[in-house]
């Protein structure tokens, strides 16, 4: 019996636009194990951010679906303890930071709301959090507009980590970071996971990142889960065409990687040929 922290049971979400319907998430059933890093990958528009919003309770699922945290069904209207148990790093860091507030005040607010640390300690804690994500502590006085894209993204990560929640949902958290800063942030995430026993749902399109941090991977296509598996297995023998397509198109810089990609591309093409009935 595995220790399931979060369980999704046929969770769907349909949007209505006039006469049109968009089923962004379609009967997703999945588990997130305590302490793991589960990557969610899929093509643009496949429903990843919608899934994140359903987990957070920002959006209600369609009737019939069920989301459980530690075995307890999560209502759409979450209580304070539910809200504290799950944190989100949003895909777009600008819209998630209040432009009128200094970034220090934004992080401080998160600490206040969640009642973390003593009142007197909080300013120092804000500075320490900024330094952890590689920003000078004196950035605390700046408004978000005076930060670069990657600096804002790191503020969003610092704020989510401030809350010390058990489950952190990260939606493209390192997409605006150069590879050096990205590696530092990923190392920090790994360290915090080990120290605090955090669990991550890590949404990203960057398979090179996924390969190196995720324990398991969930691939979604058009709102449906098409493949779930252990990271190493999934990269070595991807089964679903969507997975193969994603791996075989990764832009790379090393010769070894080119060879790996060619091999997966061979698998993807072999699959097409088999489907076409050619020998």
């Amino acid at each position: 019996m595995t220790d399931r922290l979060l369980e999704l049971r046929s969770v769907s979400r349909t949007f209505h636009l006039g006469t049109r319907q968009v089923r962004a998430v379609n009967a997703v059933t999945a588990d997130v194990r305590r302490g793991e890093c589960l990557a969610v990958v899929g093509e643009s528009g496949s429903g990843k951010s919608t899934l994140a919003n359903l987990i957070l309770g920002v959006l209600p699922p369609d009737p019939g679906g069920e989301i459980r945290l530690e075995g307890e069904i999560l209502p759409h209207r979450r209580q304070r303890r539910h809200r504290q148990a799950i944190q989100l790093v949003q895909q777009n860091p600008l819209s998630s930071l209040n432009p009128k507030r200094s970034i220090g005040a934004s992080i401080r607010l998160a600490l206040d709301v969640h009642g973390i640390g003593d009142r007197q300690d909080r300013p120092a804690r804000v500075g320490a959090l900024l330094e952890e994500v590689g920003l000078p502590a004196d950035f605390a006085t700046r408004p978000p507009a005076a930060l670069s894209g990657g600096q804002r993204q790191r503020v969003a990560i610092a704020r989510a980590l401030a809350c010390e929640s058990g489950l952190v949902v990260l939606d493209e958290p390192t997409s605006a970071l150069d590879v050096r800063v990205q590696s530092r942030v990923l190392a920090l995430l790994a360290q915090l996971r080990a120290q605090r026993g955090l669990t991550y749902v890590f949404i990203t399109h960057d398979l090179s990142v996924v390969r190196n941090i995720a324990d398991r991977i969930l691939v979604i296509e058009a709102g449906r889960v098409v493949e779930v598996g252990d990271t190493v297995n999934l990269f070595e023998s991807p089964r679903h065409p969507c997975t193969r397509r994603l791996i075989s198109a990764v832009p790379v810089i090393g010769a070894e990687e080119v060879a790996f990609r060619e091999r997966v591309r061979g698998l993807a093409e072999g699959l097409q040929e088999a489907a076409g009935g050619t020998g």
Partner: protein, 322 residues
């Protein structure tokens, strides 16, 4: 030597030697020439210097990448080219920026309006700064088209918009045109911005992290569209990206920036084959690999990162066989 045209997916993106050669030695007027660009921000107590004299050029039809550390000054360079940085109250900007041989300093507001979004356009890093939340995508496309053609009808604009959206792998262009930005995914909004920036076939396209929310297959499609624009309309591209794999496969020429200074420049192939500056080497070593191996260990910043600029010579033009 036949260029591999059948393998379109990724290899086809690489700037092949002969194209590089032609682009490196182009004799025509540069689309963009920046000389000694300096920038300081006035704060409450002190002034911080962000750019310490940036010089770079983009030739017609060239695809130039700017890569470097978060916070090193890439976006501010892009905003300076568009004349937007100069509008910020606290910004002190010095240096020359020439666009198609014309000095942009002191351009009137009207002249800027004829230029921005028409002859030069930008894909912003942050989608909220260029998409308006209260208008549908279709209305926003109409606005963009009207800048180049004030009399254009809504229906004509809609057809054109749908066609270009299909080229960035939007499968339901009609739905997207009727939607507001919040009704679209992050990557869909990014593709809308890319399509809008290309709508008027500009001479210079500045793309600031255009693919951060795009999966590899869509990104590939989008880069192909950009390349087609380059080829058919002689557009030049200044491409800012953190994804070194994409840069290697898309750009002809690369500038590496660190703390407001260009530390290395040269043909893309040369920089990836033989990175010379300590910062460039550290950057390449930090890229995670799809073959695994864990998150790379990152060294601290070193004094050598501030060493003088390394300039690679143009690649020789291959002449059949060598």
């Amino acid at each position: 030597m036949t260029p591999d045209v059948t393998d379109g997916a990724v290899t086809g993106m690489a700037g092949t030697g002969d194209r590089n050669g032609a682009r490196e030695t182009g004799k025509s007027i540069d689309t963009l020439a920046i000389r000694d660009l300096r920038l300081r921000f006035r704060g409450y107590t002190e002034t911080t210097t962000v750019l310490h004299g940036i010089s770079m050029r983009v030739a017609p039809e060239q695809r130039v990448a700017l890569v470097g550390e978060s916070g090193s000054g890439k976006t501010v360079i892009a905003r300076a080219i568009l004349g937007l940085l100069q509008l910020l109250p606290g910004a002190i900007v010095n240096g020359d920026i020439d666009f198609e041989g014309q000095d942009l300093t002191g351009l009137t507001t009207r002249a800027w309006r004829r230029l921005r979004g028409v002859r030069m356009s930008m894909i912003f890093q942050d989608p909220t700064s260029s998409l308006n939340p209260v208008f549908t995508i279709g209305e926003q496309f109409h606005e963009v088209h009207r800048r180049a053609d004030p009399a254009i009808r809504r229906s004509v604009s809609g057809d054109r918009a749908a066609a270009i959206l299909e080229e960035v792998s939007i499968t339901e262009p009609d739905r997207v045109l009727e939607s507001y930005p919040f009704q679209l995914s992050g990557g869909m909004n990014q593709r809308v911005m890319i399509a809008m920036a290309m709508a008027n076939e500009p001479a210079l396209l500045i793309a600031d992290e255009p693919g951060t929310a795009l999966d590899v297959t869509v990104q590939d499609q989008t880069l192909r569209l950009m390349r087609r624009l380059v080829d058919s309309h002689r557009t030049s591209v200044l491409f800012i990206s953190h994804n070194l794999g994409v840069v290697r496969e898309f750009a002809d020429r690369v500038y590496v920036i660190y703390q407001g200074r260009i530390v290395e420049e040269g043909p893309s192939a040369a920089i990836f084959r033989d990175p010379r500056h300590a910062y460039t080497q550290a950057l390449m070593a930090a890229a995670p690999r799809i073959t695994g191996g864990g998150i790379p260990d990152v060294s601290e910043d070193e004094p050598a990162f501030l060493a003088p600029r390394e300039v690679h010579p143009p690649e020789p033009t291959p002449t059949g066989d060598g």
